[in-house]
């Protein structure tokens, strides 16, 4: 059995005559956290649509082994459901009623939301909402988690805390993650590998492997160098 959960080969995607992605290869294995960075509008969200099966490639092949869940930048929670009900929606459909109660309690514990279980999303802060999103997505016990700039709507401090929390949560419940961001600092802090995408049509410009410990401090060995390499690749330095 292969260790790959996502396997894109020569993938291209067009919106009409507009080439968004072209000739893109990407492999993601189990429990790996891959971060994709690229200039804004380079087709990062389209890439996630392809990985999640919401879009079909115009060219090439996109293989998925297992199920995916996607976390969006903002507003993916169902506002008419409480935190508890949102997480419940995320549990596998076959989960029995008693097991649901325990699992929801576990997720509320992991994401430190127990006292907000009966709040509605609009009563929570942006950071708390994203924690609920993460809990709902991970509660599905799917093989792959796709994250579309999940922290970009948050303030700087919350964003930093959320990165640490994401890594801690993934340590408890490991999963393959593809994390899309335009934030280079974020990419080098949390990624096992960083994929640098070029401008439209997007393809892989460079792949950087990063040291194993996560989340990394900006001063950790290799981090500044990786950041510089990405900046060079994107023509930002």
């Amino acid at each position: 059995m292969t260790d790959l959960v996502l396997d894109l080969k020569g993938v291209g995607f067009d919106y009409g005559s507009n080439r968004v992605i072209d000739g893109l290869d990407l492999e993601v294995s189990r429990k790996e956290l891959v971060v994709c960075v690229g200039p804004s509008g380079c087709g990062k969200s389209t890439l996630l649509g392809l990985l999640g099966g919401h879009l079909q490639p115009t060219r090439g092949t996109a293989k998925r082994h297992g199920q995916t869940r996607t976390i969006y930048q903002d507003g993916g929670l169902f506002p008419w459901l409480t935190v508890r009900q949102n997480i419940d929606r995320g549990l596998p459909r076959t989960t029995a009623a008693e097991a649901r109660t325990t699992k929801i309690a576990e997720w509320l514990e992991i994401t430190r939301l127990a006292e907000f279980a009966d709040h509605y999303p609009h009563q929570l802060s942006g950071g708390m909402r994203q924690r609920v999103e993460i809990a709902r997505a991970l509660a599905g016990e799917t093989d792959v988690l796709l994250m579309d700039e999940p922290f970009s709507a948050l303030d700087y401090q919350t964003r930093n805390r959320m990165r640490r929390e994401l890594i801690a949560t993934l340590e408890q419940r490991p999963r393959a993650v593809v994390f899309v961001t335009h934030d280079i600092e974020e990419a080098v802090q949390i990624g096992d590998r960083v994929i640098v995408l070029g401008a439209r049509p997007a393809n892989v410009r460079r792949i950087l492997a990063l040291p194993t410990s996560k989340p990394r401090q900006p001063a950790a060995p290799g981090v500044a160098e990786a950041e510089q390499a990405i900046m060079d690749e994107l023509g930002l330095s």
């Binding site: 919401h54 009563q123 599905g140």
Partner: protein
């Protein structure tokens, strides 16, 4: 000390009401209007008391509420599913939306001849008029709301492997509830407003009948009495429907 919010909310409307009443009373007491055109408040009050003690007022109110309830509830039951289909399907939208708009712009009064020819006399033609007055409005509001549900909910629903039926009832319907509640509130106002027109012909009871019948008898005091009751019940209905916005699973649409 600044006056409390309660003073503004309850005392000021009372003050303006009393001022209007005073203007009305003084102008009729001074015979400012030609005879028989504006009834004095005293006559209206007397008409109110006699209508109430004879029991006619209660039966008129019940008759009108009964017709409005039937017309309104059937319109909601029919219009919401239609609106959901029109809002979610491009084909249904292209086929039906222009016609819903066409009929929405027709005054329900224009249907009165058909209401009588098709439904005869009694409650059915009145219920039909009230149905028409609200059906197209609610269908249109539902369609507009269903068409503007954020796409992200449907993507999440795909990830959660919801069936088509589940998407309709667990995503689209709850997602449009705030807008639907507002549309229902507007529509009950329209339904109640139309009751006078709906009871213009073919019925022998109801607040609309009271007004029309009193007009022929030149009983302007009774006309005003009917107008006041309709206005007050309209406010009560609006307050009740406004409370729908406080339902927890709907509140999100009004709190952000």
């Amino acid at each position: 000390m600044a006056p409390s919010a309660g003073v503004f909310r309850y005392l000021l409307p009372l003050v303006t009401g009393l001022a209007l009443l005073a203007i009305w009373w003084i102008s009729t007491a001074l015979d400012a209007f030609p005879v028989g055109t504006v009834p004095p408040p005293g006559d209206v009050a007397a008409a109110f008391v006699s209508e109430l003690s004879s029991g006619r007022m209660v039966s008129d109110i019940v008759a009108s509420l009964y017709r409005v309830a039937w017309g309104y509830v059937t319109a909601v039951i029919a219009a919401v599913p239609l609106g959901l289909i029109v809002g979610r399907s491009a084909r249904a939208k292209a086929a039906l939306l222009p016609w819903i708009n066409f009929f929405r712009n027709l005054s329900p009064i224009a249907w009165i001849p058909f209401a009588i020819v098709w439904f005869g006399i009694g409650d059915p033609p009145a219920i039909f008029i009230i149905f028409l007055a609200t059906f197209f409005q609610i269908a249109l509001a539902t369609a507009a709301a269903a068409g503007s549900v954020p796409k992200v909910y449907y993507r999440v629903a795909e990830d959660l492997a919801l069936t088509n039926n589940e998407v309709l009832f667990k995503i689209t319907l709850p997602a449009i509830m705030p807008q639907l509640v507002t549309a229902l509130r507007v529509a009950i106002g329209v339904a109640w407003m139309v009751v006078v027109a709906a009871e213009m012909m073919g019925v022998g009871s109801g607040l609309g009948f009271l007004i029309n019948d009193s007009r022929y008898a030149l009983r302007m005091d009774l006309v005003v009495c009917g107008m006041i009751i309709i206005g007050v019940i309209g406010i009560v209905l609006d307050i009740l429907f406004a409370r729908l916005a406080n339902v927890p699973s709907v509140r999100w649409g009004f709190d952000r």
